[in-house]
């Protein structure tokens, strides 16, 4: 049992900080990699603006491979790579490397799905106006898909909260680390429950913020 309540809350706060740091940094870098990948998937598809069958198929394979490896295995397998990138194998910063590797293909699929929702007629209209492929990506595909991309962003972020908790198992810190060390190894149910409560609140808050932003920004819902 922990000494007192303030000690517990201090620990949870620290864990929350670690989880948020891992989640947001990983989400950011996952989009840096995944967004261009997703765009490339869409524009190289046979009916799109830059059809390239082989590139499209190869990208699909890479993304699928990335998505089939269970995160816990990916994390361990990537330790040498992580050491190479950030100089150490444990801690929150080290956990960001496997988180990004796991999330980037996930993000690519989310982006692909969002962009494919766009009416192909709109892209065709832009072509008749003499838009270059680059202009179609920057001025049609991305801005028209922003509300959907933001909704996808909430799914990615929340998935990464889950992954970052798993990363706690190999000493990445954060809320997952607390839940495993105290709740699982030491049978301190109260600590575990508190951790879960914090996680639940975190997920709810993040989802609500994303929903609000997506709704505010979407001009299709303006009817008056």
């Amino acid at each position: 049992m922990l000494g007192n309540l303030s000690e517990l809350s201090l620990m949870l706060l620290e864990g929350l900080g670690g989880s948020l740091y891992m989640t947001f940094a990983a989400t950011f870098f996952a989009y840096v990699l995944g967004l261009p990948l997703g765009v490339l998937m869409v524009v190289t598809s046979p009916s799109s603006i830059m059809p390239a069958k082989k590139t499209h198929a190869a990208l699909g394979w890479v993304i699928n491979i990335g998505r089939s490896i269970p995160f816990i295995i990916l994390m361990v397998a990537l330790i040498p790579f992580t050491r190479f990138i950030v100089g150490k194998g444990t801690g929150p910063t080290a956990a960001i490397v496997p988180l990004v590797v796991a999330a980037a293909p996930f993000v690519a699929r989310m982006v692909e799905t969002s962009l494919e929702e766009l009416d192909p007629g709109v892209v065709e209209a832009a072509r008749t106006m003499g838009a270059t492929n680059w202009q179609i990506i920057w001025k049609v595909f991305l801005p028209e898909s922003i509300p959907s991309l933001i909704r996808g962003g909430s799914i990615t972020t929340i998935t990464l909260i889950g992954y970052s908790a798993m990363a706690g198992a190999i000493g990445a810190g954060g809320l997952g680390d607390i839940a495993i060390r105290f709740g699982y190894y030491r049978y301190q149910d109260d600590v575990m429950i508190c951790t879960i409560v914090v996680l639940v609140i975190l997920v709810q808050v993040i989802q609500s913020i994303f929903n609000l932003v997506a709704k505010k920004i979407d001009k299709r819902s303006k009817t008056d």
């Binding site: 709109v122 065709e124 209209a125 072509r127 008749t128 270059t132 001025k139 001009k219 299709r220």
Partner: protein, 253 residues
Amino acid sequence: MIRIQNLSKVFDGPVPVTALNQIDLHVQQGDIFGIIGMSGAGKSTLLRCIALLERPSSGSITVDGVELSSVTGRELIRLRRQIGVIFQGYHLLMQRTVAQNVAFPLELLKTPKREIEARVKELLEMVGLSDKTGAYPAQLSGGQKQRVAIARALANSPKILLCDEPTSALDSLTTKSILDLLQNINRQLGVTIIIITHEIGVVKAICHKVGVIDSSAMVEQGPVKEVFASPQSPITRLLLGQMEEKEGGASQC
């Protein structure tokens, strides 16, 4: 102005589909040319070929003597800007305002902001939407959306406006107002207009000439009055007959 000779389009596949078969067409400067046919006859493919969205399998399309069917790259993009296109489904950018939609083709050319503003104002006045500048497409009616699309298609001052079933999603009153607008554009700006439609009423209302497409081939073309006064092909008679029935039905109620 637009001369199409021996134009064919075959879509490859396990079973090749001939969408256009040896089409010949001549549209003169200042014409409003209607192309009518049943769904699946090939009229949309013809429009897509003229709009440089589809490459013909054989034959030629020339606009002011410039051959369109073989251009590529930058030249293709430059030529597309000289032909405006509007669609049945409007295809507006839903996250942009009316003014931003009309500004879009000008932005693509990196036109200075001030020039864009002036041109957008002028275009929206012409289509009668000056009061909707800041509205989003979701807030507009079908007829208003088509007006935005027309303003957008005319932003680069094209010599040709292609219309793919421009009124097929609209009620009869709105159809009339859109057709009036197209007629005004033709008269005031001298824009040559090609309208693809399955509604014979559209052709009768504003077209000078008509071409009838059936099963991928042009079966008949000429001045609207002549073609409709003595239709030569069964499909033209059928299309005309359909309208008479409709009118007869309307007068009965």
